[in-house]
Structure formats: structure tokens, C-alpha cells
Amino acid sequence: MITSTFWILLTGSLAAASCALVGSFLVLRKQSMMGDAISHAVLPGIAIAFLLTASRNTFPMLLGAGAFGLLTVYFTEFLHKRGRLMHDTSMGIVFTSLFAFGVILISLFAAQVDLDQECVLYGEIAYIPWDLWIWNGTNMGPRPVWILGFVLMLNLAFVGFFYKELKVYAFSPEYAASLGIPVGLIHYGLMGSVSFSTIASFESVGAILVVALLIVPPATAYLLTEKLKPMLLLAMAIGVLSAISGYYLALFINASIAGSIAVMTGIFFLVAYLFSPSDGVLTRRYRKAEPLAEPDEFALF
């Protein structure tokens, strides 16, 4: 007998692995906030898919979300280039506007759309064991597990197939372009993958947690290794560990599972931040290593 705990853990782990895989490229490409932007901007896509199909069918939702994910990327680029705004400014305008548009759509058609903001922000991972996929009268297990499994396969296929291109692109898009790699295609492919992972995870873990899963485990892994392949594997492992430990933390303090998973990703990051053999703040102080070559230009004080 497979318990509901098992299904929740499996869902969380699949979401974490999917997000960590594509999120690693976002972190390396310095486009982490694109994950945040996409995870919010897909809301109107989901709402429209709901309205058109009048159901919680997954496939139209994936399509709607994917379309709006790519629109976010496109509009951001457009305002950045044509509107001559800074990249983060244009991103901030685009995703908040799309999110507002989504909330308005949902409020307008509240009768038809069985979806609320809370579900979008929190997710409902605790209900997953009861969201079953019945096919030909056979119980196939929870639907989100299948969706997340499918998206993980898709992401693995994308990364596996374009591994070399992605690797060059992640470290230097200019160099990649000079080698004749279709950078635009890789970029939009990656953003498409981010959109799919976001929407697939979103239903179960919510919009903000998706951001945690996309960015924090890859950033943690990046502090532990500089090589791409170990980084991808580590990021996925840390994501899965956060999902599992987060679930038990939530049980222990009787609080949101999604929130607890996000907190756990933060705790793993904190450990790497302090104790990473190569980059840890305390390790480096202990070894009196020289300061980092060039920290990003960003100082608050």
C-alpha cells in the first residue's frame, strides 16, 4: 500500500529536480529573476486555458503557461531594447502587469474559474494524493506526479540533447554565438523549459516556492562546485533533499509544506554559504583566502 506521504514526497522531489535542472542555467546566465517573472506571469495563461476548456485539463494549461512564459521573455526584451529601460526594470513592469491581468481575469470569471490567488501563491501539495488520475477505470496514481514526471523527462531530454550548446551558452552567450550556436533558440528553449517546470510545479507548490526551487538549490550547488555536470547533479540532489526535509519540518511544526520546503532550501544554502570548502565565508576566513576577485557591482551600504 503506497501511502499519501510517499506521493507528497515524490511530487515534491520531482518538482525540485525539474526546477533545479533548468534553474541552474538561470543562475549561471544571471537571469534568476526570470524564474520569478515567469512564475508570476503565467497566471493569465492558466486563467485563459481554464476559460477556454472549462476544465483543469493539464495540457491546455501547460500550453497557456508556456505561451505566457515566452511572452514575458519577449516583452521584457522588447521594453529593454526598444523602450531603452534597464533589464530588471522592464522585467518588473512586464511580470507584475501580467500577474495583475491574470488576477483581474480570475475575478471577472470567478464563477467559471476554480482557481484563487491563494492556491497560486501557496500551492496545495497536501491534497495531491487525492488528485487522482483515473484512466480506463484504473487508478494510475496522483495526476501531478505524472505531469511532473513528464516535465522532468522533457527537461532532461532538452538538457541532454543540447548539453554542449547550453554549457557554452551558460558561461558566455557571446562566445556561443561566435561558434554558430543558435543562441536565440537555446534561450527561448530554456525559457520554455522554465515555464513548463514552473506551471507543473506551481499547482502543487505555488508560485513563490517555485522560485525557491528554481534558484536556491542551483545557487547552493554553484558554491560547492564550478563544473557544470556536478553542479546540475548536486542542485537536483539538494532540491530533492529540501523537499523531503521540508515535508517533515512542516509536519513537525504543523505549517505549510511549500513554505517549509522553501525554508529548507534556504538552510541548505546557508550551510554552503558558511562552510563550502571552496567558497564558504567561514572556510575562507579560516584559510585567510584572498577576497573574491570581482563581486557583482551591488553594495547597499
Binding site: T89, A100, I215, S260, G266
Partner: protein
Amino acid sequence: MSELLNILQYLDDPNARYVLAGTFLLGISAGVLGCFAILRRRALVGDAVAHAVLPGVCLAFIIVGDKDPFALLIGSMIFGWISMIVMDAIVRNTKLSTDASIGMVLSVFFGLGVVLLTYIQSTGNVNQSGLDAFLFGNAASLLPGDVMVFGTLSVIILIVIAVSYKEMKMVSFDPGFAKSIGYPVKRIEFLIATLMVMTITVGLQAVGVVLMASMLIIPAAAGRYWTESLGIMIVIAGAVGAISGVGGTVISGLAPAMPTGPWIVVTALFLFLISFMFAPKRGEVIRKLKNMRNRVRVQDENVLKTIYLLEEQDGLAGKVRSMRDILKRRRMNIRKTRSSLARLHSDGLIQLIPGKPAGYLLTDEGRARAMRLVRVHRLWELYLTSHVQIAGDHVHDDAESMEHLITPEIEEQLTSLLGRPATDPHLRKIPYGETTTGGGLLS
């Protein structure tokens, strides 16, 4: 008419007036502070802070036991501050970039907030209902007390900005220079960050976590299109913010069950798009129009010049040229050439001689203009070969575009620099105009 009546009825409700006052004040302070956020490349820091104050709100509630606005404000300010310090520490101490540190702080702090919020809900404290207004914003539930707090904070924010405007401006544009001339840069940055945290905390209850960022970003970005001066940009951004706050509140008040925050954002976006399209100088449509007018001018000048070159070629200034002659000398789009000829005629630069086919003749004014184009073209070619050491067969294309751009002042400088030369590198005569070709004489 009935809409107007609806609005008036809506304004009759004292509660609605409180909400309106609240969003109005919020719009101004967010718009004004957003200018500094954008200038200092911190557009998305506001987003992170908005998410990161949630645990502060929850902890304050746990400690105090009810929704005392001041306690919640202080709790969220403390966490807004902590989030900024953490973001800064991550960027300083690791190889991770700014965007990664913003994203991590945003999501992990928010996760912590959600954990605390659900924990509070599970304890069954009856006072907690409405705490999630911090998440999604609920302008309609603003109470007179809340508006008083908003108002006080907004006034404080505006006064502080007015008083320390010069310092804040300097630090935003060039912190390095500000430091070198003895400004207390760190203290001013601390001040700006504190004001930002204050605004965000106030705004959350009205528009919610996600849309708070847009209140900071969109009005400031809209203001940027209208001006190059920070002072004017701040005024415009404050106005856009205020209009959006009021407009969004009224729109959402007219329709039943409409959320206020999103309509504020939509109103702001509308004003932004107008600025993006139609602002003089920087607006997209205006720039397009200017480009189009420029292209038309270049096309007209090329046609005019071609007629002159035909005259120069055969020395017959009085000869009527058909459009075919012109196009034989210089390949151009037929339709565009026809419209150029029509414009040149109505400008009095060429004469139209009816016939089949119709012919064209330069007027004296047209000839002088054409001659000047040819003159600066050849002067520029000579300048490139003699002073920039570019080979004579490479200079034509550059001169072809420069002839439309060179101002009389530059022309004068070129002439005196080159010593009023008689011929260009291809040994063609440079026409100065005193040998005006009249009546079919050789030029």
C-alpha cells in the same frame, strides 16, 4: 453620465474616501521613491523586500497577539532591513550575482513568512483573520486608522526626500564621486533604503506582495520618458502613481468584487504605455515619425541633387529633365521619386513643365540647395582622403550620408581647413555658387 453619477455616489461613501486617500498617498510615495530605485539599479530589490517583510509581520503578530498597525509596521521594517543586509552579504561574499541573491532572499523569506502564517492559523488565534491582507492586499478594508498611518508615513517620506534631495540625487547618480567630495554616502544609502522599506510596508496592505513592486517601478519608468531631469521625473512619477492609485481604486469600486491592486497596476501600465509611445523626444511613435521625416528629407535631397548632377554632366541648366532621365542617372524607387518631385515642386525648388512626359527644371533656390549638397559631399570626400588618409575609392558612401547631415558651421570649418579647394579627390569641380549657372551657360 450614469458612470459619472456612479463615481459621485461611490465618493459619497466615507469608507471609500478613506481608501481613496490611502491609495493616493501610497501612489505618490511609491512613485517618488521608485525613481531612486530605478536610478540605483534596484528595481527588483523592492520586489524582494515586499516578499521578505512577511515573516516580520507574522512575528510581530505572534509577539503582540493582535493586528496592531504599529507593531506590524515595525516587524516588517525590521525584516525589510534584514532582507537587504542578507542580499548585500550574498553578493559581497560569493560569486553569485545580484539577481540570484534577490531571488533567493525573496523566495526563502517569503517561504518563512508562509510557514509562520500557517502556523498562526493553526494556533486558532481569532485575531489573525485579515492578516493575509499583507499577501494579496485589500485596499477596500483600509480603516481610518490605517489611512492615518499611511498619511503620516507618506508625508514623512516626502519631507525627507525634499530636505535631502541634493544628497540623494548625487548618491544615486554617482556614489563614487559623491564619496570623493565628502558626502556621507553610506548614511544616505541607508536613508533611501529605509524610506523604501517604509513605503513597501505601507503599500502591502493596499496592493499586496506581488504588485507592490509595480507601484515602485512602473510610475518611475513612465516618468523617465518625459525628461532628462531627475526633479521633473520625480514629479511625473509621483503624479502617475497618484493617478494610478485613485484611478485603480475608483475602477475597482465601480465593479462588484473587483480587486483594487490589479486595477491600480493596469492604470499605471496604461499611463506607462502612453509615455512609452508618445512622450516627446523619447517616445516610440515620436521617434518613428522623426525617422520617417528624416528619410523623406534625404530622399528629396537626393532627387534634387540628381537633377543638378544631370545639369553638371551636360552643362545644360535650362534643359527640362524627365523622371526617366533622373532615374537613369540615379537608381531610385519610382514611387518615392514621384512623391519627392511633387514635394520639391510644392516647396518651390523645382519647376514643373507640363507635357508628355512631364519635365522638371531647378528653380534658382533649388539649384543653390542642390549645389550646396554636392559641395559638402565633395568637401567631405576631400577631407577624408587628405586628413583621415582614406583611399579615394572608399569615401563616396560616407559622403553620401554626410552630405545630409553637415551643418553650415561644419561646412565653413571644412572649407577653411581645406583652404577652399577647387576640386575633390576625383578631380571634379567643387561648386561654390559664384559661377551660378544661369540660362544654359557652361558651369
